[in-house]
Amino acid sequence: EAAVTQSPRNKVAVTGGKVTLSCNQTNNHNNMYWYRQDTGHGLRLIHYSYGAGSTEKGDIPDGYKASRPSQENFSLILELATPSQTSVYFCASGDGTGGAYEQYFGPGTRLTVL
């Protein structure tokens, strides 16, 4: 069954360290997305991609980089992690063609920055 998977599922990092969150999708979708969810907020878009080699800034990109090396994989990179980046991160994929706007979400990664 087509799916979006994320790794790791839980991560504890230290302030100033580098963190990489990985996402893999078997939907063969063009578009992939990274969101974060904080208490009292819905999900907010950090970065997204229209295909391999492309990355675009979302609504809250500061402090994050993204990498899309292939159709299936999309990574979120925190070069210098800060406690304010403690959050739950969700990856999603979407077809991105012909008016297909629905997105399919992974299970989330809980990141704690100490």
């Binding site: 578009n31 997305y33 969101y35 009292g40 907020h41 819905g42 999900l43 907010r44 878009l45 997204y48 229209y50 979302g58 609504d59 739950v88 969700f90 999603a92 979407g94 991105g96 008016g99 706007y101 629905e102 997105q103 399919y104 979400f105 299970p107 989330g108 809980r110």
Partner: protein, 107 residues
């Protein structure tokens, strides 16, 4: 991003009751996706609508792009319906989420 307003922020229902959740947005959107987030934190897609109405069991959703709102109606509420419900509106191929409605179903 453009704000998406969800009402009510919180709701309590007894088992068997019914109620509606509303999602308002300020500009014309391509579609709306409704989610339930359960106690494990997973996002479960309930509906995606580009227009009109969809129904699935005890759940029914409508999307009115012209009037800029969507609704989710739950009937015969069950304990497992407890959780947070999010709407997300499609602005192009990006979704903007509302802040959610927290639903508690009591026996």
């Amino acid at each position: 991003g453009m704000p998406v307003e969800q009402n009510p922020p919180a709701l309590s229902l007894y088992e068997g009751a019914e109620s509606g959740l509303r999602c308002n947005f300020s500009t014309t959107m391509k579609g709306v996706q409704w989610f339930q987030q359960n106690h494990r934190g997973r996002l479960i897609t309930l509906f995606y609508l580009a227009q009109g109405t969809k129904e699935n069991g005890r759940l029914k959703s409508t999307f009115n792009s012209k009037e800029r709102y969507s609704t989710l109606h739950i009937k015969d509420a069950q304990l497992e319906d407890s959780g947070t419900y999010f709407c997300a509106v499609a602005r192009g191929y990006k979704l903007t989420f509302g802040t959610g409605t927290s639903l508690l179903v009591d026996p």
